[in-house]
């Protein structure tokens, strides 16, 4: 590998308006990742108790905290003034569709397996948060690097 082959072309990759705007954006991604981690943790705790009387206090608390964080994130995003909203909503729409299909398949498994009502309610809540949180992350992570006037 020669040096010339790895060199960055001049003018390619200099900081642009999107780079400069990053400092003004709220911490959406860390909050969304924590939300996802809480949902996944709750799911693991519930799944680990399969076949015996499940203790649902901790998963319910995790679900509640995750729901609050998701709400906080939605408010933080809504308050961003200069943002590539058309791109955000375009990605959000398609990602919601894709993740609703995935969540739907998992919900189908739980219903098909005659999961007890309380467990099913908890799992359904987790799937709803999952199906909103992941598309939110995808849409935000794309729109944050797009010009404000991008369509």
């Amino acid at each position: 590998m020669t040096t010339a082959a790895t060199a960055t072309p001049p003018g390619f990759g200099e900081p642009d308006a999107e780079d400069l705007r990053q400092a003004d954006l709220p911490p959406v991604m860390p909050i969304a990742i924590v939300t996802l981690a809480l949902v996944v943790s709750g799911g693991i705790i519930v799944a680990a108790q399969y076949g015996r009387a499940a203790h649902l206090t901790i998963p319910t608390v995790l679900l509640g905290v995750a729901a609050v964080l998701l709400l906080v994130n939605a408010v933080l995003i809504a308050r961003i003034s200069a943002f590539a909203w058309p791109v955000f909503f375009r990605v959000l729409g398609w990602a919601l569709l894709a993740y609703c299909v995935i969540a739907g398949i998992l919900e189908y498994v739980f219903v098909y397996d005659h999961t007890p009502a309380r467990l099913l309610a908890l799992f359904s809540g987790m799937l709803v948060l999952f199906a909103i949180d992941v598309p939110l992350m995808l849409a935000y992570s794309v729109a944050r690097w797009q010009p404000v006037d991008a369509s």
Binding site: T8, P9, G11, A32, L36, A37, R52, Y108, V134, M137
Partner: protein, 219 residues
Amino acid sequence: MTDTAVEPTVRTEGPSATEPASTPPPGAGGHGPPPVPSFSIVPVRALPVVAAVLIGLIVAIGSNNLWALTFFHVAGGGLWTSLDLFLGLVLGPIMGSLSIPARVEFTTRFMPKMLLIMPTLVAMTLGAGFQLARHVGNLDASYPHHGWLVASFVVVGIMAVIALGLLEPANLAVLFELKKPQPNGERIGRLMKVFIYTAGITGVLQIATILIMTFLASR
């Protein structure tokens, strides 16, 4: 949208006298960003394949057929693991040594396909795996090696958070960046590093999953 990534025609988006957006930045010495081949963010032609796999998965779960569940779980898991390891340990270092135009061209052809392949494999593996474990009784808390199974849940949970929280957003952001009239190469490099490193981390975690699964299968 159509998947034109494999076509040899190249959409040159470099400097142009008629396009102000393509004008090289000051001090660029007449050089602009490398040409970006025409590509589609979502390879639409592959969507029927994804749909067929997901329908097959639903049928396997609905019929509770042991062979079908094992097939979806083992095939999906094997491909997921191999891809993660290959990406992180083989393709990652190769990509790092490519020239910028070569990296851009490779990325536009490779990343859209990953956008469909990875979620499909994950859905196959986890959906069929959960049902298979339930079907053969491994999921039950009274199963003698239940602790190992829970350990695999934890590993998969960590992988899911890394993949959905870092890997997939980086993948999508790269593709949208490349669609710009003047993509930011430094940003693409940064996002690609996130993609390759997280793929490598999940690949290593996959080895832990393989250890647990082969242990459980041999009991």
